[in-house]
């Protein structure tokens, strides 16, 4: 075990020192922090900029109000616009009531931020003012619907606040699988690189293939765990500093966090063990990646079926995905944000995953021992019995 830990330390340090890994750690900050700061700044700029809107009314139905300023003719309005006294102006021709046509004028990147909503609201207010409608009816015309979505479960009971949960399973599943796949990918790259630079034979003269594989699993897994911890911490930081905090109050964050650790650990061991099987006989990274494709596809299957899981988190498909070891980590964490999964389902899922990890690690250790010094390209199914016999 001592030598496996030496390998683990070497792989961990070698991984966390790479530019790619450091970038993956700081990338969330590089993206999120500027967004946080610039969004506030943009709001500030928007508040400070002139909001006045001019109008030239040829029908005589509009009254100046607040930010809306009347101009007698288009020439005056154009001058005001070009002198930056107003941000835009619109004209209402004499046949407006018949045609509804309005001409909106602006400068620069006007069309990306044209105040059409404000103009429409101003027109509605003026039209209602002359219509004689009472205040209640006027309000309904201004705001005809305040939509509240209600979701019924299979028993016909109302599930509240469903809409706020829509993004959570997506984020959790992607974060989990991204970290597992990235970390397993590091392991696969590490194995192929040592084959390519011929160091693997020297290593095997110092320790057993099983110790080498164990060391790599621990080393790369620790790097992956560090990565996901940094991501979660940065995510929590961002959420706590923004209005997103209200959304997360609805979710059982503590349960997700508790389950995320065993699912990440077991999921990582399962995928990493599988990747080791395809990396050991591979001569190049391309060979290894082709072999790993099937595991990658299995891993992202729950994300591809996100719509099905969100629509029916307790359906047969969603449950099956919870029990299948390669889809269990993503599927279970997605479901737990949407529905109350029975404890026995989680226990059975973890049990299946644990048994699979034990089998895959034993299997991969044998293939690793047999195939690590081979140079025959990607793994073929017909070669597997041969690798296991050696």
């Amino acid at each position: 075990m001592h030598k496996a830990l030496v390998v683990a330390k070497h792989e961990f340090l070698a991984t966390v020192k790479t530019k790619g890994f450091i970038l993956s750690l700081i990338l969330p900050f590089l993206i999120l922090l500027p967004v946080m700061f610039t969004s506030g700044y943009v709001t500030q700029i928007a508040t400070d900029s002139p909001r006045n809107i001019g109008f030239v009314d040829e029908t005589g139905i509009l009254q100046p109000d607040g930010i809306f300023i009347r101009f007698e003719d288009i020439g005056d309005a154009e001058n005001a616009l070009l002198n930056d006294e107003i941000q835009s102006f619109f004209t209402i021709p004499t046949d407006y009531l018949k045609t509804g046509r309005v001409f909106l004028y602006g400068t620069g990147e006007f069309f990306s931020s044209a105040p059409t909503d404000l103009v429409e609201a101003f027109l509605i207010d003026n039209l209602l003012h002359d219509s004689g409608a009472d205040e209640t009816l006027s309000d309904r015309i201004r705001h005809p619907a305040d939509v509240e979505q209600i979701t019924l479960n299979e028993k016909g009971e109302v599930e509240e606040k469903q809409e706020v949960r829509f993004l959570i399973p997506y984020a959790v599943a992607i974060l989990m699988m991204l970290s597992i796949m990235t970390t397993s990918g590091y392991l696969m790259q590490g194995i192929v690189a040592e084959k390519e630079n011929k160091t693997v034979e020297i290593l095997l003269s110092s320790l057993s293939p099983e110790e080498l594989l164990t060391g790599k699993l621990i080393g790369f897994g620790s790097a992956g765990l560090l990565q996901i911890c940094v991501w979660i911490c940065s995510g929590v930081l961002v959420v706590s500093l923004t209005s997103l905090a209200a959304i997360f109050q609805e979710i059982q964050i503590s349960l997700i966090m508790i389950l995320a650790i065993p699912y990440f650990t077991l999921g990582y061991l399962l995928f990493a063990g599988s990747m080791a099987c395809v990396a050991a006989p591979a001569s190049t990274m391309k060979d290894a990646q082709q072999g790993a494709m099937i595991f990658t596809m299995l891993g992202i299957l729950p994300i591809m079926l996100l719509g099905v899981i969100i629509a029916a988190p307790d359906s047969v498909i969603a449950r099956v995905l919870t029990y299948v070891p390669y889809t269990a980590p993503a599927a279970t964490l997605m479901r737990i944000t949407l529905t109350g999964i029975p404890v026995y389902e989680i226990a059975a899922s973890l049990l299946m995953l644990t048994i699979s990890v034990i089998v895959v690690i034993k299997f991969s250790a044998r293939i690793f021992r047999s195939a690590i010094l081979m140079s025959g390209g990607k793994i073929r199914v017909k070669d597997i019995p041969g690798y296991l016999k050696r």
């Binding site: 630079n197 011929k198 020297i202 095997l204 003269s205 110092s206 320790l207 047999s370």
Partner: protein, 324 residues
């Protein structure tokens, strides 16, 4: 104040005694350092090693020879327990091989490999830690001095020339002071100066009692350095023993050297002639009686000297490889 002088002296005496006893026990053992019996290995239907048995004595340089694809690397990998044999056993120091023995072996594989993106020091320290070296920094400095690369300690491996990397590789092989060294083509890629440095290091290690297994194609080096050799071809043992024993077995079909005056003409039983005018080396056909060749030669030239040249290991190697 208590006088600890006697205690210290006693301690030193005990230390020396323990060292002497340990050394005596080490020297006393009659067990071969390595005992390989009936080793067989196949990959699919292809037999790579076929019932190979040999042993290696402590402190000798043992040549493991054979043409490409003979099975040398597979043999070494089985000895190191990197791959398993189908049949047969490998005993080291009289015991069945286990993982702990790896710390007593230094292995230089034919396909050299170092981590290119880290420093020489980091690379050597990783290998030293894997061999459980107690004070790796001191050992690293010692071996970098030995191979003349101490100034390159903090340099990235990729910045070094191929020859320098070769010497770093050698340093990594010796760094844990192993009892057995398995060196696969140690002179490959080295210029004459560095070849001499490596050869001298090997001889120093032999003088220190280390056992060296030398796998090489360079027959002249093997002939000069090896105490005994094993030659395998297509997975079969074809030669095994001391150089004298092996050469004795090949004396009858050797080269006849003659110094002569006159016009050298073709002679029955001579299949190859290297003629220098007054001196010639005649390759005799297997089974030809040198006396018959002499009689025939004397009919055309006046012989000043003749002798049967002892076959070189290279000639034996080529003949064995061609016969197979």
């Amino acid at each position: 104040m208590p006088d600890n002088t006697n205690n210290k002296r006693m301690f030193t005496i005990w230390q020396i005694a323990a060292a002497v006893i340990a050394g005596a026990q080490r020297e006393k053992t009659d067990e071969p350092v390595l005992d390989v019996t009936h080793l067989t290995k196949s990959f699919g239907i292809k037999t790579i090693l076929d019932d190979i048995s040999f042993h290696i004595e402590s402190g000798e340089i043992f040549g493991l020879l054979g043409p490409n694809g003979a099975g040398k690397t597979t043999m070494i990998r089985i000895i190191l327990d990197i791959i398993k044999s189908d049949h047969g056993s490998v005993k080291m120091f009289g015991k069945v091989f286990d993982e702990d023995f790896k710390e007593r072996i230094g292995y230089l594989p034919e396909e050299r490999g170092l981590y290119q993106k880290i420093t020489v020091f980091e690379c050597l320290k990783y290998f030293a830690n894997l061999k459980n070296v107690k004070k790796p920094d001191d050992r690293i400095d010692f071996w970098l001095e030995e191979v003349g690369l101490i100034d390159y300690k903090k340099r990235r491996v990729s910045d070094l020339s191929k020859g320098m990397q070769q010497k770093i590789q050698l340093a990594s092989t010796f760094i844990h002071d192993p009892d057995i060294l398995i060196l696969d083509e140690p002179f490959s890629g080295l210029d004459p100066v560095n070849t001499k440095i490596v050869k001298d290091i090997m001889l120093d290690l032999k003088r220190d009692g280390k056992t060296i297994i030398l796998s090489t194609h360079q027959m002249d080096q093997a002939e000069r350095m090896c105490d005994r050799i094993l030659m395998i071809n297509h997975g079969e043992k074809v030669l095994y023993g001391t150089l004298d024993q092996i050469k004795a077995g090949y004396r009858e079909s050797r080269v006849m050297v003659v110094e002569y005056e006159g016009d050298l003409k073709p002679v029955d039983g001579v299949i190859e002639v290297e003629d220098y005018g007054r001196y010639a080396e005649l390759g005799l056909e297997r089974g030809t009686d040198p006396q018959d060749v002499l009689k025939n030669l004397m009919e055309s030239v006046k012989l000043r000297r003749f002798e049967m040249k002892s076959p070189s290991l290279n000639e034996i190697f080529i003949e064995v490889a061609n016969d197979a």
